[in-house]
Symmetry: C2
Subunit: 315 residues, 2 copies
DNA sequence: GTATTTGTGACAATAGTTGTCACTATTATA
DNA sequence: TATAATAGTGACAACTATTGTCACAAATAC
């Protein structure tokens, strides 16, 4: 093995291990410890962030940073990566505890000049727009950590009825249309609930000793199954215009209920929890002429009641 | 200079240049051509995708792919990059002519084991959700190229009135809520218009000889300036409940108009383009009891008209 | 005090590298 | 067809770099 190859493989090896000794590497690469010491010195000079501890249980470590070894990306791949990361700037809050812009700067800086030129040309010509929100989401990383590690989190949640303290166990977090949501098991309601993260006014790991449930089988990929199961249901049927179809596409709860016709119009059909009628009434009023509810009667009644109330307010 | 360093720098040099000769590199690195030939052979063996052409105007080139040299990312940076790219999977159509998933696989594959483990833990716990759209956007790359290179594009556009052929000069393209839009100068209307890309049924570079305008000063970053400026304004005043305040906080157009009181309620106050009244009427209807419009009268009238229409529909 | 780790310098033996040389092959162009 | 410009190959003497061994130093946990 040539020295160049050995250095390259050594770079990948130290990248992979959290901690290692000179002796260990010497055995693995079948060279002397002196040679490994020299090689590590040379890697340091090449920019690999190594540091060492002398003494028992000592050894070498790579600083927090992980080196991405040389990768060949096509120009299109590099451009896709760049603009995907560039889109993160629209989020004032992210659960990653660093500026995503530092990642982007590094990537851009090291990319070859012609790809950089291409990116510069495109920068003001393409964007993934995410609505800029005034809301604040300061507890995203606590919630995400709670979901990953199955922890109980104490939150103060602001709803219509005011601020309440709750114990929750998060399933995950997701961003939609610039807002962050957290489906979680609520110990107060003893059921899965969807929380809007800007309404979480405080969050910290619970210290009261509440035992977490085993929710490993639940995740964002099967979040439709997160809906409450012991509820009364009614069957829903709503006619939609083409515009109504588009607006329902943007709502995740419609995913299994939305049907389309060739001409672009469509309909919603399926079961709905009776407890959701107030929310749905207001939702379909918001769709205006683009939705016509035909079933269930209770929903139509609620819509009519609200329309009358609104008419009175504007008389 | 040690051989290892020379190889590393040579990797970066060939990465940067589109095309180069052995002689040129030998001069640049102050070694013989024989040594450069050997070095290039060794780079090949290390995986750099080089290919050569013999004869006049020959030389070496790096295949389409560009090598990203070793970069040290923090774990958080790597995770941010990964999930930003992962979010691209929600787009069935992208203007980048490759699968963004191949970029992501490469990135993931070469990242060190512990970061990979972390990503795996997080994969079903965090997501940037983009609505899944049935619409098709097959001409994104043509439009983007048109914007970058200031080209005139012939399109067939489907609007309410049917399909029309137009010549446009794109300013750029952007994705919002899963749909792609293209602000462009329309030669038919002799003004800037916003086109929805799923309604562009055909697009190709114009061959009729229409001269492009110089639109270099226009781009997505100043697209608010793309809107028509000769508009009539009216003054808006809306009382909001606490819930109404929350829901307006989530809207970007309210940024300069929203005022809050100590008790959590608030109001919207400011000027609005008269052309926005239909949109705003439906918006405030969707807020229901949480908003009460007090000014302008034209908006109140539109709201009332829509309420009457809806009541008739549910009678 | 002992054991375990990193660390340093020196040197002989060995391996690898370099530039020069002579020659080959390919290709565009006049 | 000849020429020029490019990549390419093998060989070899001279030179450089690398390696492992050795002796010793320093730091640290137990």
């Amino acid at each position: 093995m040539s020295k160049s190859k050995r250095l390259m493989e050594l770079m990948m090896t130290v990248n992979r291990k959290k901690k290692f000794t000179v002796k260990e590497l010497a055995t693995e690469f079948d060279v002397s410890t002196r040679t490994i010491l020299r090689d590590l010195q040379e890697l340091s000079e090449l920019g690999v962030p190594l540091y060492s501890e002398v003494g028992p249980h000592g050894g070498y470590q790579v600083l927090n940073e992980r080196i991405l070894p040389p990768i060949a990306f096509t120009e299109e791949e590099a451009v896709a990566i760049f603009f995907a990361c560039h889109a993160l700037r629209h989020y004032a809050y992210l659960p990653f505890e660093t500026e995503s812009s530092s990642a982007l700067s590094k990537f851009y800086f090291y990319m070859s000049g012609d790809v950089r030129d291409r990116i510069d040309e495109m920068k003001n010509r393409i964007d993934f727009v995410i609505p800029s929100r005034q809301a604040k989401f300061p507890y995203l990383s606590i919630l995400l950590d709670g979901a990953i590690r199955q922890k109980v989190i104490r939150i103060e949640y602001e709803s219509r009825e005011g601020v309440s303290t709750r114990l929750i166990q998060p399933v995950g977090i997701y961003a939609s249309s610039g807002l962050w949501y957290c489906p979680a098991y609520c110990f107060l309601r003893e059921d899965i609930r969807l929380f809007r993260c800007d309404r979480i006014k405080f969050a910290a790991e619970d210290t009261s000793g509440m035992q977490p449930l085993d929710l490993r089988h639940l995740h964002l990929g099967n979040r439709e199954a997160l809906l409450p199961s012991e509820q009364e249901f009614a069957s829903l049927y709503v006619e939609l215009t083409e515009e109504g179809v588009h607006r329902c596409e943007a709502e995740h709860w419609t995913a299994t209920k939305l049907h389309r016709r060739e001409d672009g119009t469509g309909w919603l059909e399926g079961r709905l929890p009776k407890g959701d009628i107030p929310f749905l009434a207001q939702f379909f009023i918001g769709l205006g002429a683009d939705a016509t509810v035909q079933h269930p009667p209770a929903l139509i009644d609620d819509i009519k009641r609200r329309l009358v109330e609104m008419m009175a307010r504007y008389a």
